[in-house]
Symmetry: C2
Subunit: 333 residues, 2 copies
């Protein structure tokens, strides 16, 4: 296959599957199949940050074009390999960088404590886009907040907490003997609040719980009160806008107050939209950590999401919310 035909093939498949990542995204999929022969669809989805159903559609097109066969997983045909060669890609991936935030070994005991607590937690309610992080992620979230001085002496608001990050923060506070001033959980699902109450009731931590729908106006006593907000919003743009906007509304009207937002990779155009919303709220990005969060079970986004850390400016403000818009991905079907 010559280079022109290779590029045409990539473009044609991208167009046919309406892929927002373009021909570049198709090339990325081919490279990854070439790197790990027989790669399962969920692993491929994780590697290229493209949802499983989209990959399935692309796989079908590639099979039609004779680029791909399936054995136990996906394998390139000679034609697929020849396409890669003509765009200058030789073969295996020879370099993989280790990266990320490393779980501190001295926290393994509280990880076990958390796992004990998890045994009795409420099951996820998928209609609310609930999906639980694993225990390592929950502890790492708490540790990450500590690392950035966002716990000790702080008033922290969690907007939605089916992940029980609040409990991880409390366990870590007790371990370090460095306490938040207040930890406040707001959730639409009273089962979660009840569960947190039974766990935290045994401690001296100042923990407040509010049962509310974020689409409704926020209680006066939650506005302009907090040093830190933390959220893992529904994975729609409206969900992101709503949860982050309410987070901004909850923070003190000062520069440098913290927002921690957990959100998966989205297609490039939606990604621009998401960071546009953050800019409009006057939130200054500090860090984006790929794959910080691991979720239990198989999901459309393959069980990984990014941690986004930001701080307020003097001009931070919540955005207008049209509360009739759907926010849960389940409601978008």
């Amino acid at each position: 296959m010559d280079i022109e035909e290779a590029n045409l093939t990539l473009s044609r498949i991208a167009l046919k599957t309406n892929l927002s990542e373009g021909p570049e995204g198709i090339g990325k999929i081919l490279r990854n199949i070439n790197n790990i022969k027989g790669i399962p669809i969920h692993d491929l989805s994780k590697a290229v940050s493209i949802p499983v159903p989209v990959i399935a559609a692309i796989r079908k097109e590639m099979e039609k074009d004779g680029l791909l066969t399936r054995d136990s997983g996906m394998i390139l045909t000679h034609l697929g390999e020849s396409l890669l060669k003509s765009i200058g890609v030789s073969g295996k991936k020879k370099l993989f960088l280790d990266h990320g935030y490393i779980f501190p070994n001295f926290l393994k005991d509280i990880k076990l404590d958390l796992e004990q607590i998890y045994k009795n937690r409420p099951e996820p309610n998928f209609s609310l886009d609930q999906s639980h992080v694993d225990s390592v992620t929950a502890i790492m979230r708490a540790a990450y907040l500590y690392h950035h001085d966002a716990v000790e002496g702080r008033k922290i608001l969690l907007l939605g907490d089916d992940d029980l990050t609040s409990i991880a923060i409390i366990l870590l506070s007790q371990e370090l003997k460095m306490y938040p001033k207040e930890i406040h959980v707001i959730d639409i699902d009273s089962r979660i609040l009840d569960f947190i109450e039974t766990v935290v009731g045994k401690t001296e931590i100042n923990c407040k719980l509010t049962n509310a729908d974020l689409r409704e106006p926020m209680d006066e006593d939650l506005r302009s009160q907090f040093d830190v907000f933390f959220t893992d919003p529904p994975y729609s743009i409206n969900g992101f806008k709503l949860f982050v906007s309410k987070g901004v509304e909850s923070l003190k009207n000062e520069s440098g107050k913290y927002g921690f937002i957990n959100f998966p990779f989205r297609p490039p155009d939606e990604t621009v939209e998401i960071f546009n919303l953050m800019n409009h709220m006057g939130l200054a990005l500090q860090e984006i950590i790929n794959g910080f969060n691991s979720y239990v079970g198989a999901q459309i986004y393959s069980g990984k999401s990014n941690m986004i850390r930001c701080v307020t400016t003097f001009n931070s403000k919540p955005l207008y919310i049209d509360k009739s818009l759907p926010i849960y991905t389940a409601s978008r079907k």
Copy 2:
């Protein structure tokens, strides 16, 4: 000291020193001095991502207020400690997370090769905001590009290359036997191009060199040509806008083409401005890695900057540049 007085003190110092990070930034400085007693001003600057001259002004105010004394470095007085206690901060930092991208051991030989080459490199021209990264950073940049499939088979443009990242990419290509299709360096400083030519002349790599000022219109044959751009722009907003905009102009008009931008932490309001520019160019943020780059020698930003990775969308476009505006920080004095 009671909490009200503590908060007033933080606000007063923030106002007096015109600190864009606000009272939160003053608190952060106090926490860090408390964590590492006798901390040198450059280390403190690095820890809180605030430039050294600004820290010096804040130190002066804190001394006036009796919060701080100086011995070999900065130390809190009893009053300073009491302020922290009243905002709920107990004492030492008990948790530090290891993070980042880990240097692969098998690349240490090419790191040594690069250091040999560095011995004869041109001295930095500070009027052009040149400042060299260390050899580990240069190799890690190349490795990071490989990790993200931004080298093999790619046409890569480096906008400014006093860091000699091009040479690191070439050394790594030879090591891995996975080659870029083209590596192109554009620089205003012909000394750098001459130096790269002497090094690359001995290889088979397709390396092109263009001596040009990015403030001038870009050559036709550099526009819409590349898969990847890489830049470490001057640390002014105009510098960022100019270099990144030219990077976008150089990329093929497709979704998913790569931009790698190296830039230090700025105050929150400037940070919003910077990511606003990226949004306006239609660049989708993928990752922000804190402290990825280490620079040789002491600088105003304490020798560290972040790696920002982004990809194009279908709507990516360069911005209008007012070429009369200063772009180098030296010219802003």
